[in-house]
């Protein structure tokens, strides 16, 4: 008897669910489409080595203002924005707030009448456990008139962001949404995080590591932090806080002197990374480095200048080995220097365990 009641009520439940799941599926697709139509792909500078030449943006005015992430991609005169319908439009940077990783672009075409976010009515806040969607131009997968990629996830925390020091890109230091989905991929910066109902939560940030654990952080900057500057930039009233990104952003973990390397004075825009002197008894001396050696590679990355070398050195991990390639005369010499552990640095966690078939997706 009980069984029968249970069975029949279960059946009823099934029927209800079936209906509701269809209704839900339709609404989630409508939500995704609505958000995708307000998301754009940004193409600019980069494309060499690991610097991607693309990012994401979201439309914040019908006249054609796009909020996006402040990055090297915008460092060009040839900035192109691909709208959701595939139209390509030239754009220029109208203003930026590097401390918030925020830039606002102006599309250089009149009468666009784009679907745009209302930064008052359509913005909301969310706590841990909120189910969210992430929209972005990650990996530049969506080409031509294809819509941006969408990921699903959950807000894990809304907390102050402590990204890795020594990485000169981390400038945002406020509260951020931390999510469990891999939202922060190459090109994803400037994308949006929304609730499943399509309410705007935040702008997807850069690819950064957590200062505490050295793991990748998937985060978004809350729109509540951004909407004021966005409005002011559009109105032409915003004045960014002055600071030299090269000075303040680089918190170098290691300096050349710590290895006993003295570089030639950095006087040019791109001073070649020649060694001026090697300190006696230092790691550099033990590795056999000599004055007038030209440093060409650091851990496999090309060194174009003294500045690049200093920046690269600032980012290397504690412990392990520093691999340099230097040119002496017409010979290329590889050298290895031990990297000391820095007590003030968090422990470097074990590298993620290699999959059983590393280097192969079989």
């Amino acid at each position: 008897m009980t069984n029968r009641i249970l069975t029949s009520s279960f059946c009823l439940l099934w029927i209800c669910l079936w209906g509701s799941s269809i209704a839900q599926a339709q609404s989630i697709q409508a939500t995704i489409r609505r958000v995708q139509q307000r998301t754009v792909k940004v193409f600019g500078a980069g494309g060499i080595r690991r610097l991607h030449a693309y990012s994401t943006g979201f439309v914040v005015s019908r006249q054609g203002h796009v909020a996006t992430i402040w990055s090297h991609v915008l460092d060009t005169e040839e900035l192109t924005v691909v709208l959701a319908d595939g139209r390509k439009v030239r754009a220029k940077v109208l203003g930026a707030e590097p401390q918030l990783d925020l830039a606002v672009l102006e599309l250089l075409e009149k009468d666009l009448e784009l679907p745009a976010w209302d930064l008052e009515a359509e913005v909301t806040d969310a706590g841990p456990g909120t189910r969210v969607l992430g929209f972005s131009n990650m990996f530049r997968v969506a080409t031509g008139d294809e819509m941006v990629s969408v990921l699903h996830g959950v807000v894990a925390a809304k907390a102050p962001l402590t990204t890795r020091r020594g990485a000169f890109e981390s400038s945002y230091e406020g509260t951020a949404f931390i999510v469990d989905a891999v939202t922060n991929n190459p090109g994803a910066g400037g994308g949006v995080l929304t609730t499943r109902a399509g309410r705007l939560l935040g702008m997807i940030g850069k690819e950064l590591r957590n200062a505490e654990s050295n793991t990748w952080v998937n985060y978004a900057v809350p729109i509540s932090e951004l909407k004021q500057p966005i409005r002011q930039i559009i109105a032409g009233k915003y004045r960014a806080r002055q600071r030299d990104p090269d000075e303040t952003n680089v918190v170098a973990r290691f300096r050349p002197l710590e290895f006993g390397i003295v570089l030639v004075p950095d006087v040019l825009f791109r001073t070649p990374a020649f060694i001026d002197a090697v300190q006696r008894g230092s790691a550099a001396a033990r590795a056999g480095l000599q004055p007038d050696d030209l440093i060409l590679f650091i851990n496999g990355d090309l060194v174009q200048s003294c500045r690049v070398f200093k920046q690269s050195l600032g980012r290397i991990d504690s412990g392990g080995v520093l691999k340099l390639t230097v040119r002496r005369g017409d010979k290329l010499l590889p050298v290895e220097l031990p990297v000391p552990d820095k007590p003030d640095e968090p422990d470097t966690p074990d590298k993620p365990e290699k999959p059983a078939t590393a280097g192969d997706t079989k």
């Binding site: 279960f10 209800c16 078939t357 590393a358 280097g359 997706t361």
Partner: protein
């Protein structure tokens, strides 16, 4: 300890567990305690069910049910050497299973496959598609394998829930697949070849977690239909683990290739013989075309705007590549193009994308699956090139199921398909004795009388007060006679050879797969014959095995003579077509009505 050994250990442990439970039930004292627990649990139950929305519980129950049902069709693939492996999915009760080409590539011709029942099965390679990264294998030893149902991947929407199943990191020593759940992130994505011929076109992008070892495993819809084969991911600085962008080859693409794969061949994708680019105004235009291509012969030129292809309108270069990429070489597709307001519509047979040697010859191009940004080892040294695993001996019981032949993954399966397709031919009667001249006579549909004579020394046609002749000694070239027919007379010679001698009349003879007849008709089985330079495609009805017609190509890169049969007349115990319809380059030559058939002894003129 061997894998099986570990499994046995696991089973013993489980049985031990159940034994303990029985003891527990018999013990009176413990029993009363059990009751207490049950009562408390029941008292708590209402509160629990109030806490969780019943809709959530039911959705969970549904998900769990679907996942456990689907798990039975998922295959863990291991090379016989025991090194490396991947995943796959069964698609028929007799053991056919899909996986990635890059999974089978290193695994040899025979593999070991584990199912969720804990059993290991032998499997043999059937067909491979190196460009599309698909392989068809056959599990052996049962005719009642649990299998997945193919879905319609074009019905997927961005945001739909999906299951990915497989054996990531080769974790499952008991062959229970790992299940991940996520959404469709994008559709109709195009993934550039990553330094190899491997290319993912029109694929499904998912945030469902895909990791090394998932390759070749199934992507299911939330309803449990097979939507794709997982095979690639975008990896970059985070290492070779899921980074939120996985790619599955759509099942709709695989359906187009399925019979090609069953043919045991190394199958190829296609090109149009033309390249396209996007013009400033967004139009997709031809920016290069091969003079010898069929597209060129049908009038396509540089600068022409592509309007639609295979029934889909074209708005971007990627879209064009996406469409081209899902079709096998040799299929006929409809192309619509425009030049200065003149719209042209034509059917084109797709050309091979690769030379045969590129597909199967050298082992050099190692398909390294990776996302658009090529997976970089991040400053690490390149791992030493993996040695080829020692080739394990095929299992004695099954070694007859593999036949080696150039251009084939496993010729055994082609032989089986040949037998199947040709089995319907015997109903036409025995033509093997009909060695003399064949004389067919009647009228064309326009009312003109004709007489066609096909003999060993030559083929003659008298029609509309004209006589045409094709000599057939060894030195004679196949002619385009009558002019513009694509070589009807030589085609008739091919027809007679096929009916009288079957495969013995040709240098090469094999089963190709299936395609829609003339690009628009029902799917038909296709056999290929080759004799000298002359290549024929023979079309068979898929149900009754009836010969529907054939296309004969005298010389490569020329228009074929298209011969179509219909109707049936009985003459001397043999069945002949009532009408022979002949056309070339889309232009009808004539429809020959057959009224009398005379077989003459000996060679005749």
């Amino acid at each position: 300890m061997s894998r099986t050994g570990r499994m046995l250990g696991r089973r013993n442990w489980q049985q031990g567990g159940r034994g303990d439970l029985r003891l527990f039930e018999r013990d009176g004292l413990l029993c009363s305690r059990t009751w207490l627990v049950v009562v408390i649990a029941l008292a708590l139950l209402p509160r629990i069910s109030f806490a969780v929305d019943p809709a959530v519980l039911a959705a969970e129950a549904k998900r769990v049910g679907v996942a456990s049902r689907l798990a039975t069709s998922v295959v863990a693939i291991f090379s016989r050497g025991g090194r490396g492996g991947g995943s796959g999915v069964l698609i028929s009760p007799d053991g056919y299973a899909l996986t990635n080409f890059h999974v089978t590539r290193g695994a040899g011709t025979f593999m070991k496959c584990g199912l969720s029942d804990g059993q290991l099965y032998d499997a043999v390679i059937v067909g491979i598609d190196p460009t599309g990264d698909v392989a068809l294998i056959k599990l052996l030893g049962r005719d009642d394998f649990p299998h997945a149902t193919l879905g319609d991947s074009d019905a997927l929407k961005v945001g739909d829930w999906t299951f990915a199943m497989g054996n990531p990191f080769l974790l499952a020593t008991d062959f229970q697949p790992t299940v991940t759940y996520g959404i469709v992130s994008g559709l109709h994505r195009y993934q550039y070849p990553a330094g190899t011929i491997l290319e993912y076109t029109d694929c499904i992008q998912i945030d469902t977690s895909i990791n090394p070892g998932n390759s070749g495993g199934p992507l299911f819809s939330a309803g449990g239909k097979l939507m794709g084969i997982n095979g690639r991911g975008s990896f970059e600085k985070r290492g070779r683990v899921n980074s939120g962008a996985g790619y599955a080859i759509s099942i709709n693409q695989i359906k187009l290739f399925m019979d090609h794969l069953r043919s045991g061949r190394v199958v190829d994708h296609a090109t149009l013989g033309a390249t396209v680019t996007t013009r400033e105004d967004g139009a997709v235009v031809v920016d290069g075309i091969l003079d010898e291509s069929e597209a060129y012969r049908r009038g396509l030129r540089e600068g022409d705007e592509i309007i639609s292809f295979a029934g889909r309108s074209i708005r971007s270069v990627n879209q064009f590549k996406n469409i081209l990429g899902i079709y096998p070489k040799g299929w006929k597709l409809r192309l619509v193009f425009r030049r200065e307001q003149v719209r042209t519509e034509t059917l084109l047979r797709l050309r091979a994308l690769h030379r045969a040697s590129e597909l199967s010859g050298s082992p050099k191009p190692k398909p390294k699956p990776g996302g658009k940004p090529k997976p970089k080892p991040g400053g690490k040294k390149k791992p030493p090139a993996r040695k080829r695993p020692p080739v394990a001996k095929p299992p004695e019981k099954y070694k007859h199921l593999y036949v080696k032949k150039q251009g084939f993954a496993n010729y055994y399966f082609n032989q089986q398909e040949q037998k199947r397709v040709l089995s319907g031919m015997s109903r036409l009667g025995d033509f093997s004795g009909a060695r003399g001249a064949w004389v067919l006579a009647g009228k064309t549909e326009a009312g003109d009388a004709y007489q066609l004579t096909v003999a060993d020394v030559g083929v003659g046609l008298s029609w509309k007060q004209k006589a045409y002749y094709q000599e057939l000694d060894k030195a004679s070239e196949p002619l385009d006679e009558p002019k513009g027919s694509g070589g009807l007379l030589y085609a008739m010679h091919m027809w007679r050879s096929f009916l009288a001698k079957r495969e013995k009349g040709f240098g090469e003879f094999f089963y190709l797969g299936s395609e829609p007849l003339d690009g628009v008709g029902a799917r038909v089985d296709v056999m290929i014959s080759e004799l000298g330079n002359v290549r024929c495609r023979w079309y068979f009805d898929r149900k009754g095995g009836r010969l529907l017609g054939f296309d004969s190509q005298r010389v490569e890169e020329t228009d074929e003579c298209e011969v179509r049969f219909s109707g049936d007349i009985d003459s001397g115990g043999r069945h002949w077509p009532k009408t022979i319809r002949v056309s070339s380059a889309g232009v009808l030559l004539a429809s020959f009505g057959v009224e009398t058939v005379t077989l003459k002894a000996g060679a005749a003129r």
